[in-house]
């Protein structure tokens, strides 16, 4: 359905977080990637403005990410766990 994917800004981004935080990050990042694939249907051919830095929260998780529309990916730049 989609080539969109999500990535971490840096490999150690989730270091020190509990397993629940990692699992929730993965779930939410996947959902955002799928949603973005439906919002930006042109994908790599997109030439409009991107949405910039955005933050989403769910439960105890706060996730800040960037959308690289032409690269068909979201990049998670910051994860906060309010446990």
């Amino acid at each position: 359905m989609t080539d969109w994917r999500w990535e971490l800004f840096q490999d150690d981004l989730l270091d020190g977080l509990p397993d629940a935080a990692r699992a929730e990050t993965e779930r939410l990042a996947n959902e955002i990637a799928v949603r973005e694939s439906m919002v930006f249907l042109e994908g790599a051919a997109y030439t409009g403005p991107g949405p910039g830095v955005r933050t989403e929260t769910r439960g105890l998780l706060m996730l800040t990410y960037l959308t690289d529309v032409r690269g068909e990916r979201i990049v998670v730049v910051q994860v906060g766990w309010f446990g």
Binding site: G50, D68, R70, G71
Partner: protein, 136 residues
């Protein structure tokens, strides 16, 4: 909701009075001191450094308090403070804000290498601001 507000205010009180540090570009003098993470202080700061985002700020306040009431939790309010504390932290440094917004534009480049650089730049700025606001 009033109870949630009081608890959040107490929980966040300890954040006050932390020293101001400057992890940003030399000469990027802040427009205002770092505000306390309270609703009036953040509202005033947003009105000063990024007034165009005030409507979004008020919308987020509303959402945070509704969620706090629904979930009987102060977490949504702490998240709201963190998110807007970070926005203010960036916007009160004009050069940092300019670099971030330039990077946000560059993420739309046709060149993958330009996009990668832009993501690196924007991510570093956002992460530095989170470190400052979260105090870790």
């Amino acid at each position: 909701m009033a109870l949630a507000w009081a608890r959040a205010t107490r929980a966040l009180g300890e954040r006050k009075g932390r020293p101001m540090t400057m992890p940003y570009a030399e000469g990027d003098t802040p427009l205002i001191p770092r505000p306390d993470l309270t609703l009036p202080a953040l509202r005033q700061a947003v009105a000063t450094v990024v007034p165009s985002r005030l409507p979004e700020f008020f919308e987020d306040v509303q959402k945070a308090f509704v969620r706090a009431g629904d979930e009987d939790s102060v977490v949504p309010i702490r998240m709201f403070y963190r998110e807007w504390g970070v926005i203010v932290e960036i916007e009160r440094h004009p050069e940092t804000a300019r670099r971030l917004h330039a990077a946000e534009q560059a993420i739309n480049s046709a060149e993958p290498a330009v996009r990668d650089r832009a993501i690196r730049e924007a991510g570093e700025i956002v992460r530095a601001a989170h470190r400052e606001v979260a105090g870790d």
